[in-house]
């Protein structure tokens, strides 16, 4: 289809197949480790086998003399290389403790997997072989793997800060002093629950990989990395290594999933750049899976104490939360901020008065650092409030859906008395721009056939029944689309939350979109082309999307926190508007009319009331290129850059329902049905939206049923590869029923919200509520994740007074 052909259909909203797919399906796509880099040296990192140990001595002489080995470095050798320690961009409180963290440990190793030495060799096998020949003498120290033990400072991990507590962060909101206390005193019902968010290993299917290529003259370096954040990585590498920022270029080629684990600045990236500069040769590194489980961040890791107060009808009157956050051994890029991202959501989707008391204390442990993992803080918060709501319903003896209906923020509360959309300003001051929780919940209940299920359950779950049916639900609000820069400032985040886009109409009327987002599976090339095509009235095939290379897309804040569409996609729409504004001036000049007399529709400017006086944007683009006859003051070329700083977070919401059958003899949980009804506002490409929900749901379900990073008491990771850490396979999960309600966002021109994390946010609690529902007749009202056969069976035995 050519650009001038009249378009009859809207592009936005179509189930367009992904343009990314052919390269990925045929093996043509290049991931970092697929890049051919002549003359590259290979980096291998020797990692501490101890969770906590003083490094007494390191002898590298044998390793250094092995065939193919070019150099061996210890942390001491490289200490003068670093201009600054590894970055943490989120000092959440002014007094937050952040121990200096370097790419290689110098005096002490603080977790199993902490790098202590590096080998450079002419082949990957030579570099790894040499690791075995490095002789390190350690003085083992006690491991700290329990969060409450860490809090006690029985063993202090970082001598320089003298405590294991990194920070305490509070969010207390009261209508009057003592409101929370008073609400609990006056409550008709209260619940007090303790939940453990087990550590999870993100396990993107592509392990990390890095290649640093020094350019021949002038000190420039190109860093190829399997990263979600090329722009952040560029700035941070420059700062950490003292390289002028304009000499750093970062490229993220095809990236095989991230889920937050590639939202970071890692030791190996800095080592590759530093050693490439030192040796004047390319240096590359690829992570093995069993290395990935230790050297790439973990997610979750919280102990949550949540108390709810409710009146006689079950309406929430106060929420109190005490968290302990597991930071792991060091603070990575946004480690300390993860609990804060959930801090606003412990009242879920409910109409809570100003009686909220949240406090989080985060501690260091001798385990792999934690950081953002799909949902980052929000799945944890949603889990706590939603599982606690079921506990409250049980306490009251009412149906959990009925309890939620009494508490939902109502649709009309998002509007003023005249029906204008005002959003709902919550107790903590953030404005939820839009929502209709009851509509989404009703739809989910219909798909699940809730009423009928309860009847089946009543007949099935009789005493002695081997297989017990359980139904669980979750209603969630996802606070995403990170984020308004001013709000981030109030949370002490070290950067803004804007996104940049450039839209360029080339002389032949093809369009280039340059985005600061950095996809790794989300299909941005397809969706961003659809946005530009819709705005400019061109065919999506005529739009190319450029990204993930700081030399091509110099401005950007990358992809995480379900921000890409709600911030980056909206930036593209804004850039298109600027292109259209400029084109309008040229069109008015050509048509000899006033710019305000022109309308722009389906890619053509025409004079209002005289549709025959018209000029297509293709002709304008060519005129802008030749610049032969432009109006005074208009620059040649049709191009515009726009930076979008969102006015608000994005507030997707929805209800998920899970139906399980628990085999009481084996403890095995079978998910019979999973219904996700999500509302992410207007959808650009429903095909991609559904895919995001499917994947997110299974990741949440995996936390509920399968996954856990298990450490022994000495701090060894027992689940250190894919044979031991149970990432579910196709046969472990059910098909997912997806449906949607559409409540457009009122704070961006596309009416869009995020969707990448919604599934994960909703799923863990929906599944666990179903499992507990199945077992509550046996007296089981609490169960830690994962609800593995072993854990479920033990809980049943304990409840029945049997031997465990």
């Amino acid at each position: 289809m050519s650009i001038t052909e009249e378009r009859t259909n809207n592009v936005i909203g179509q189930r367009m197949l992904r343009r990314e797919d052919p390269a990925l399906l045929t093996g043509e796509a290049k991931f970092v480790n697929d890049l051919a880099i002549p003359g590259a040296l290979h980096l291998a990192v020797l990692r501490s086998p101890y969770a906590h140990a003083r490094i007494k001595s390191i002898d590298v002489s044998d390793a250094a003399s092995m065939p193919g080995v070019v150099a061996v470095y210890t942390g001491k050798d490289l200490q003068s290389t670093w201009a600054a320690p590894m970055p943490c961009a989120w000092p959440v409180t002014p007094d937050m403790k952040n121990p200096a963290h370097y790419p290689l440990a110098v005096d002490k190793a603080c977790y199993v997997g902490d790098g202590v030495a590096a080998v450079l060799a002419t082949s990957e096998t030579a570099s790894r072989d040499a690791l075995d020949a490095i002789d390190v003498v350690y003085e083992p120290l006690p491991a700290v793997i329990d969060l409450e033990d860490a809090l006690s400072d029985r063993v202090v991990i970082h001598d320089a800060i003298g405590t294991n507590t990194s920070y305490t962060w509070n969010l207390k909101v009261e209508s009057a002093e003592g409101a929370v206390e008073q609400a609990f005193k006056n409550a008709a019902f209260t619940v007090s629950e303790r939940y453990v968010q087990q550590r999870l290993i993100p396990m993107a299917m592509e392990p990390r990989a890095v290649a640093a290529v020094p350019q021949p003259f002038g000190g420039d370096v190109t860093l190829y990395s399997a990263t979600q954040v090329p722009h952040i990585l560029k700035v941070m590498t420059a700062i950490t290594l003292g390289i002028p920022e304009h000499q750093m270029r970062v490229v993220a080629p095809s990236v095989g999933g991230g889920f937050g684990s590639k939202l970071d600045v890692y030791a190996e990236e800095l080592l590759c750049v530093a050693l490439a500069r030192k040796h004047g040769a390319p240096v590359r590194w690829v992570e093995e899976r069993s290395e990935n489980t230790q050297a790439t961040i973990h997610g979750r890791g919280q102990i949550q104490n949540i108390e709810l107060a409710a009146d006689k009808d079950g309406r929430l009157t106060a929420v109190r939360v005490r968290l302990i956050g597991d930071m792991g051994a060091y603070l990575q890029l946004v480690t300390p901020g993860v609990p804060l991202l959930g801090a606003f959501l412990y009242a879920g989707v409910y109409d809570l008065p100003q009686a909220y008391d949240f406090s989080c204390t985060s501690v260091f442990t001798t385990m792999t650092p934690t950081d953002a993992y799909r949902g980052a803080g929000r799945p944890e918060a949603t889990y706590a409030i939603e599982v606690a709501m079921d506990a409250l319903a049980r306490t009251m003896g009412i149906d959990p859906y009925e309890l939620r209906k009494r508490n939902y923020i109502k649709k009309e509360q998002f509007y003023d008395a005249s029906g204008n959309p005002t959003g709902y300003t919550a107790f903590h001051g953030l404005n939820y721009d839009s929502g209709d929780h009851l509509a989404a919940a009703e739809k989910a209940m219909q798909h699940a056939d809730y009423v009928a299920l309860r009847k089946v359950q009543a007949t099935q779950n009789v005493p002695g029944a081997r297989k017990r049916l359980g139904v669980g639900m979750t209603s969630y609000f996802e606070m995403c689309g990170l984020a308004p820069s001013r709000v981030l400032a109030s949370l002490n985040y070290g950067a803004g939350g804007w996104e940049s886009a450039t839209v360029r109409v080339l002389p032949t009327s093809k369009v280039q979109v340059v985005t600061g987002t950095s996809p790794h599976g989300q299909g941005h090339e397809t969706s961003w082309a659809m946005i530009a095509a819709e705005k400019l009235g061109v065919a999506p095939e005529d739009v190319d999307v450029l990204h993930s290379d700081t030399a091509i897309a110099p401005l950007g804040l990358d992809t995480y926190g379900s921000r890409s569409l709600a911030v980056g996609g909206v930036a593209i729409a804004g850039a298109c508007d600027k292109v259209i504004d400029k084109a309008r001036l040229i069109a008015a000049h050509q048509l000899e009319c006033a710019a305000e007399d022109l309308q722009f529709e389906k890619g053509t400017f025409s004079v209002k009331g005289s549709p025959d006086k018209a000029v297509p944007i293709a002709a304008i683009a060519f005129a802008a290129f030749t610049a032969h006859n432009l109006p005074d003051g208009v620059e040649p070329n049709l191009e515009a850059q726009y930076t979008h700083d969102p006015k608000n977070f994005s507030w997707p919401f929805g209800t998920h329902v899970c139906v399980v059958e628990v085999d009481t003899e084996t403890g095995k949980v079978d998910v019979l049905k999973y219904v996700a009804v999500d509302d992410c506002g207007n959808q650009i490409n429903p095909l991609i939206v559904e895919g995001q929900v499917h994947g997110g749901v299974v990741q949440g379900m995996a936390q509920a049923l399968y996954e856990e990073a298990v450490y022994d008491e000495d701090g060894n990771l027992k689940t250190s590869n894919l044979a031991e850490y149970l990432v579910p396979a196709a046969c472990d999960v059910p098909p997912i029923t997806t449906d949607f309600t559409v409540t457009p966002s009122t704070t961006n021109q596309l009416g869009v919200k995020g969707i990448g994390e919604a599934g994960t946010i909703g799923a863990a609690s929906a599944v666990m509520n179903a499992v507990i529902d199945a077992l509550s007749g046996l007296g089981i009202t609490k169960l830690d994740m994962p609800a593995s056969p072993n854990n479920v069976w033990k809980a049943i035995q304990a409840a029945q007074g049997g031997n465990q």
Binding site: G256, H694, G696, V727, I736
Partner: protein, 151 residues
Amino acid sequence: MKVSITINGTTQSHDVEPRTLLVHYIREHAHLTGTNIGCDTSSCGACTVHLDGEAVKSCTILAAQADGGTVTTIEGLTKNGEMHPMQKAFMENHGLQCGYCTPGMVMAAIGLLNENPKPSEEEVRLGLEGNLCRCTGYHNIVKSVLAAANK
């Protein structure tokens, strides 16, 4: 040692270390990088290829064991610029997101249909047990394989 393998129709001979795995041979000696490595325990299936017509995890086999054999990798599925029906089914059903597990998943799915041309949904799920995907939740992968089976 010298190893000779026919990959995607071309017979190649290379001197390799005896410990060389087939996947490393494919990637580093035959320079076909479509076959990915996702683990070190033969758990993930990202490296699945066809050896003498059967789907195998190429990290579980030494290049020496494949000596004289015939290997098809993801690059060998395309004929005259046309994707294989399984590749097309994955595209049409959004059966991939990041695409890293995809080459192995497609090779495993073709192997599955070779053995069981009309599988049920449950048989597809069980048949792909050895291939992990972290993005799709498998929903659209299963849909893709069923669609390919019904073509």
